[in-house]
């Protein structure tokens, strides 16, 4: 009898198995290859012969692979000291190992794309091929990116404390990449953030998890059947995932109660206010503006100020929104789109149409370009009539 391999279980075991190997004295790069080999082997063997103790099975196979690799290496270099040693007893703190792995894979010495790839493989348990497909690059390119990343962090001690903030940025990047190819990166980012939240008590980790859940809840409503974008105000709220929203709100409330506000909690709070509105008209824009004020204080980011202008436009009218735009750099991404939207609110349809067409020119992706071009077309058709 063959059974389907529980890939989610397999992947969730990856970081702790890797942690065990490193604790036993394996170097990170070789251990990571060994674990990847063990995962591939598990996918092959488990359907016909499921193990009683999946984690124990993975550790045994990965350790054997590690020894094989090191022996081959050692033979080549005529150095055979460490490899035949008995493995050290299993460490008691595998939870800490998982956290250390996150920190290592998101080490500040790595470029963002390297950190993302390494995290997805070493912590996420994805294969190089899956990661390559998700990022639309050749598999050989992705394999090189991962092995370069491993070389970069090879000098970093596994016990060295890292910075959780860099881990959160990496997970945020993975989530934002969304869905392309056969790997759902958004779902994967949620899984990894959930796992991280279970290993460390940190309000911003919780904030990021809440933010992801609240945005993920809208996914089905965000795209029309023909693939075009549906803006928040026009989405069918009946298609929002209420379970995901409820979980996000609960996690966020617990995090906010800790009174250590950060940027992800503030962003999640804004998403929660949208989720809370039964219709777009009932959105509590006044409170959303207050959260944007917090975000401006926390980040001083021009992109946040741009988004704040939209919220101000909804809370206090388009004129106030345009006033909030003043002083921002017109070359900011989506500046023209925001300005177009506010001009439409003001009733200046000619200027709004011109700005939507300009925004379409500067759009960073095709669905957004098509959406903005439709807005320009809608206003022009209306004016021509």
């Amino acid at each position: 009898m063959t059974t389907r391999v529980d890939e989610a279980l397999l992947r969730s075991l990856t970081p702790s198995v890797l942690g065990v190997l490193v604790r036993r004295g394996a170097d990170f790069a070789t251990a990571e290859d060994a674990v990847q080999d063990a995962l591939v082997e598990a996918l092959r063997v488990w359907p016909g012969d499921p193990p009683r103790d999946p984690k124990g099975w993975l550790i045994t196979v990965a350790w054997r692979r590690f020894l094989d690799a090191t022996r081959a290496d050692a033979a080549r270099r005529r150095r055979e000291d460490l490899t035949d040693a008995e493995p050290a007893p299993l460490p008691a703190h595998s939870v800490d190992d998982t956290l250390q792995l996150y920190l290592l894979c998101a080490h500040p010495s790595l470029t963002p794309s390297s950190a993302v790839a390494l995290t997805l493989r070493a912590v996420g348990g994805l294969t190089t091929r899956q990661i390559a497909q998700a990022y639309l690059v050749p598999e050989a390119t992705m394999a090189q990116r991962i092995s370069r990343a491993k070389r970069t962090v090879s000098g970093v001690s596994f016990d060295q404390p890292g910075d959780v903030a860099t881990v959160l940025r990496v997970l945020y990047l993975v989530f934002n990449e969304g869905y392309s190819g056969d790997v759902d990166l958004a779902a994967e980012a949620i899984r990894l953030t959930r796992q991280l939240a279970a290993t460390i008590d940190h309000p911003e980790v919780a904030g990021l998890l809440a933010l992801m859940l609240l945005h993920h809840a809208r996914r089905a409503a965000r795209t029309a059947p023909d693939g075009s974008l549906v803006p928040l105000a026009q989405q069918d709220r009946g298609r929002w995932d209420t379970e995901s929203i409820a979980e996000g709100v609960e996690i966020l409330q617990a995090a906010l109660a800790r009174d250590r506000l950060g940027e992800f909690q503030a962003q999640a709070a804004i998403a929660a206010l949208h989720a809370d509105a039964p219709t777009a008209e009932e959105t509590d824009w006044v409170q959303i503006v207050e959260w944007y004020d917090e975000l401006v204080r926390l980040t001083d980011s021009p992109v946040v100020r741009l988004n704040r202008a939209v919220a101000v436009g909804e809370a206090d009218g388009a004129r106030a929104g345009l006033a909030a735009l003043a002083g921002l750099d017109v070359s900011l991404p989506r500046y023209a789109a925001v300005s177009a939207y506010l001009h439409e609110g003001l009733g200046d349809l000619a200027e709004a149409a011109r700005l939507y067409a300009k925004a379409a020119q500067g759009a960073p992706n095709l669905p957004e370009r098509d959406h903005l071009m439709r807005q320009a077309a809608r206003l022009n058709a209306h004016r021509d009539r």
Partner: protein, 135 residues
């Protein structure tokens, strides 16, 4: 099989027959156009002739080497470049005739009034690898 590049231009190609800027179409006409392009690519996937399709942002710049230890020189972006590529599709087909046929189909994508745009597309054959049997 031979690979061909179908180049779409923002500027630089001769004017299309149905030459109305997109922001002067109706939203429904834009949707129909997008759908046509997607269906075309899907159809070529099904016939085993599709390789790749990409769109380019309209702004770009020229860059050149400026000597050891110096930053590269940049020029642009230019508001009115004579020739501006908008995107491409790469196809892998049995004959030059088939490549022309497909380019013609792509050029028939609907625009204003739901009528074909008759857009001029540039068709460029790839220089492939040398054959094993060189004759």
């Amino acid at each position: 099989m031979a690979k061909y590049l179908l180049l779409k231009h923002y500027r630089g190609a001769p004017a299309a027959v149905n030459d109305v800027p997109m922001d002067r179409w109706t939203p429904e006409e834009i949707t129909a156009h997008v759908q046509y392009m997607e269906d075309f690519a899907t159809r070529l996937e099904e016939t085993g002739e599709f390789v790749d399709s990409q769109a380019l942002a309209p702004e770009g710049m020229f860059v050149r080497y400026d000597g050891e230890g110096r930053q590269p020189v940049t020029d642009g972006p230019f508001a009115e470049t004579k020739d501006l590529i908008a995107g491409w599709m790469v196809i892998d087909v049995d004959s030059h005739e088939r490549a022309i046929e497909l380019a013609g189909e792509l050029s028939a994508a609907p625009g204003a009034g739901g009528e074909p745009i008759h857009e001029w597309l540039e068709l460029r054959p790839f220089l492939g690898a040398p054959p094993t049997i060189a004759g």
